[in-house]
């Protein structure tokens, strides 16, 4: 992995103008290299670790940067050190800012925590510790989150060899009940202390890793008092495949293949995000036809995901008939996908500079048949399940999340919108055709399980509206730009986001001008949703955990990546 370029000091700020001036055009006829830096280039402001706390507190309090969008661990090699990139956004003003900090001490890398300012930083910092070994001083719970506790080394470091140190261990996984905390003393030393996660007399129930209602392999340790949940401690990583690390040794077109397998119910959108990120970084403009096709496909995927959400929720609550209703309609969408993409679930459709193949001649006809079909059938969902008094009683007023909580936890997507937070990326940062179509951002204010379910139902109808506006007007044009056989992205750090099926799916790409990405980080839509489970479930009954988990709607392979 260690290339000579890795030793270069990373200075995206200085490299940016040069990046823009590079010949990003990929064929003679393509538009000339952009004079300005790429649209999605982010130039994180460097902050020294010592000054980080002060700066973060200022941003949080004075500039109301209340949404920690993304927190990415980085390994910039020997000279750049180990560090973190923060993406912050203010929900009040919409202002966005990126910061970075780094420490060159590879033996004992310490950075100050921000977990007291944003709730979601707690779990993000644990992720960075797990992958890079950066210890956040003042963090209350510095345990590993994805790897086993007896894992040796930190897999994402450029100089690590995780497979050599970690053979397949068939012993049962050790699980500690102590949360280590590292505090920075006044004299500069670091003191380690441990606090128990559960008390001596606590009644703790395990849910998962193999449980039909966890939507994948997820492990919760639940502290109960009678039937009331007091605490939920998620243990992740049962489907951690190291996609981000794998990406560092794959060429750009190869990295695309893995995005579909992150959140397989948002395969189109995930891949759209990565393609868009690379295209914008290279200054490639895709044709309007591609934009139309991508938008329609994204919305079809969203409907597909929301139908599956409904089906699984019904199944989890014991309504098998409703599950069958949902899958009946989902198959119609899969038919449309299959004709054009050849796949049902893993679609592999978007590609850098366009889409893999033009739409099937039947596509428009099929989609136009599907719109009234779905509008009619969604009524049945209400008749058979949602208006049912049993479901109402189990969902209304259960698992309430306030707007402040969802923002602090960064719960984008339907979960955030159910609590009244306008977080739709399609409105916040319009991409593809979303700036030109007329659609509503569905929000509710209750923040309970029922609102989260209804958001998704309404979004199905809204997605149908979007498709209806576009389907008749798909312009003529190429479905793919001609790209060079070897794709190289100009140096710099780039961030692009799309509205995935269950929230903001972001791609952070750091390139050093190679044909491999230096670092490719995905902002998982599901990780904040699992992080919020503790807050959402505390005080509710153990049986409601299934409803809350179902309506919060996470997909585990997307969390673990």
């Amino acid at each position: 992995m260690e290339t000579p370029e890795n030793n270069k000091v990373n200075a995206p700020a200085g490299a940016a103008p040069a990046a823009g001036a590079r010949p990003a055009a990929v064929r003679p006829a393509a538009p000339a290299a952009p004079a300005q830096p790429a649209k999605n280039l982010c130039e994180p402001k460097t902050v020294e670790p010592a000054a980080l706390r002060k700066e973060m507190e200022r941003l949080r309090r004075d500039e109301q940067m209340d949404f920690l969008e993304c927190l990415t661990g980085m390994d910039w090699g020997e000279e750049g050190g180990l560090g973190v990139i923060y993406h912050l956004e203010s929900t009040a003003t919409g202002k966005r800012v990126a910061l970075k900090t780094a420490t060159t001490d590879r033996e004992h890398p310490y950075l100050p925590t921000v977990s007291d300012l944003w709730d979601i930083a707690n779990i993000y910092e644990r992720e960075v510790y797990d992958f890079y070994g950066i210890i956040f001083t003042g963090h209350p719970d510095m345990r590993r989150i994805f790897m086993r506790e007896d894992w040796v080394g930190f897999p994402f470091r450029k100089d690590s060899n995780p497979e050599k140190d970690n053979p397949l261990r068939m012993t049962n996984e050790p699980l500690t009940d102590l949360a280590p905390c590292y505090t920075l003393e006044a004299d500069g030393t670091v003191r380690r202390s441990e606090t128990p996660i559960f008390g001596e007399d606590d009644y703790v129930v395990n849910l998962g890793p193999q449980h039909p209602s966890t939507h994948g392999v997820l492990h919760f340790r639940i502290k109960l008092e009678g039937e009331t949940i007091k605490k939920v401690d998620p243990i992740l990583g049962y489907i951690h495949r190291g996609v981000e690390k794998l990406n560092e040794s794959l060429t750009y077109p190869q990295t695309l293949a893995l995005t579909d397998r992150l959140d397989y119910l948002g395969a189109m959108q995930n891949r759209h995000a990565l393609c868009m990120c690379i295209e914008q970084a290279m200054g490639v403009e895709v044709s309007e036809r591609v934009q139309y096709i991508r938008t329609i496909m994204d919305e079809l995927q969203r409907i597909d995901s929301h139908i599956l959400f409904f089906s699984c929720l019904c199944q989890d609550l014991g309504a098998t008939t409703a599950f069958l209703y949902g899958f009946r309609d989902r198959e119609k969408i899969l038919d449309i996908f299959e004709e054009t993409c050849g796949g049902r679930l893993i679609l592999n459709y978007n590609t850098i500079g366009g889409v893999m193949a033009d739409i099937h001649p039947n596509f428009v006809k099929r989609v136009k048949e599907f719109i009234p079909y779905m509008r009619h059938n969604i009524q049945e969902y209400f008749d058979v399940f949602i208006n049912n008094v049993i479901f109402r009683n189990r969902a209304e007023g259960v698992g309430v999340l306030s707007k402040e909580q969802v923002i602090s936890f960064g719960c984008t997507g339907g979960t955030g919108r159910a609590s009244g937070w306008h977080n739709d990326v399609r409105k916040r940062m319009p991409y593809a055709m979303y700036g030109k179509v007329d659609f509503k951002e569905i929000t509710r204010t209750e923040g309970d399980s029922f609102a989260r379910c209804m958001i998704r139902m309404d979004e199905i109808l809204e997605s149908l509206n979007i498709i209806e506006q576009l389907i008749d007007n798909i312009p003529e044009g190429p479905f793919q730009e001609k790209m060079k056989p070897i794709i190289k992205v100009p140096e710099g750090t780039y961030y692009s986001a799309v509205e995935g099926s269950r929230g903001e799916f972001g791609v952070l790409l750091e390139s050093r001008g190679d044909k491999f990405p230096y670092r490719l980080h995905y902002r998982s839509t599901g990780l904040p949703l699992v992080a919020v489970m503790d807050t959402a479930c505390s005080g509710n009954m153990i049986a409601d955990l299934i409803t809350i988990g179902g309506t919060v709607d996470y997909v585990v392979p997307d969390i673990d990546r």
Partner: protein, 211 residues
């Protein structure tokens, strides 16, 4: 002795690979079989092969396809597989649908150990066969057959519902030729216990050498 088991849904000659299967039948019946016992076996096999209860075990994408197979269009109930069990103690077959990571491997092994005999394993999708697209990853088991013995492999990423059903019918054929009385059936040896056995053998050998 049953050599060409009848599967209702698909004629014998329509299966792609009959040679491997015939070899298996030959091996199973190498010693011959008692007529009465074999007839009893046929009856049990008929019942078992048409009511294989799968464990709801899914780690990633293939699990969603499994749900589609269970739903109305592909209707797994036609074959008697629709009784999905949430507890391994009640299940006959574990469909490993999805990537198995090194953290998940001990859990999978434990689930398998908890199932009652006779039990079967179907590896579904590229990930569970060989690691699939993640085979270079540091955290992925390169094939579930390193952890538990596998009866049928269903390739695809994810496999189409039709291949699911084809794989399940292959399993039905396998069950149909088994002998439950008298002889042992399991030809796929448990990989872990085999490795452990080898280790033990080596220890004994080295001790003998010392002596």
């Amino acid at each position: 002795m049953m050599k060409r088991p009848k599967i209702k849904s698909i004629p014998y000659d329509d299966f792609k690979d009959n040679e491997t299967f015939e070899k298996l039948v030959e091996e199973l019946n190498a010693g011959g079989a008692n007529v009465i016992v074999r007839k009893l076996d046929d009856l049990i096999d008929w019942g078992r092969s048409n009511s294989l209860w799968p464990l709801t075990f899914a780690t990633s994408c293939c699990g969603i396809e499994f749900m589609a197979v269970c739903a109305a269009r592909y209707d797994i109930a036609r074959f008697g597989f629709e009784v999905t069990r949430n507890s391994p103690r009640q299940a006959d077959v574990i469909l490993v649908s999805g990537t198995i990571t090194t953290k998940m491997a001990p859990v999978l092994k434990r689930l398998y150990d908890q199932m009652a005999d006779p039990k079967y394993v179907v590896a579904i999708g590229g990930c569970s066969i060989s690691g699939g697209p993640f085979t270079k990853s540091y955290h992925v088991v390169k094939g579930v057959d390193q952890v538990i013995p596998v009866d049928v492999y269903v390739p695809g990423c994810p496999p189409r519902p039709e291949s699911f059903l084809y794989g399940m019918m292959q399993l039905q054929r396998k069950v149909k030729v088994e002998n439950f009385f008298g002889t042992t059936n399991r030809k796929e040896k448990d990989p872990i216990s085999r490795a452990e056995q080898r280790e033990k053998d080596e220890i004994i050998l080295s001790e003998e050498e010392k002596a």
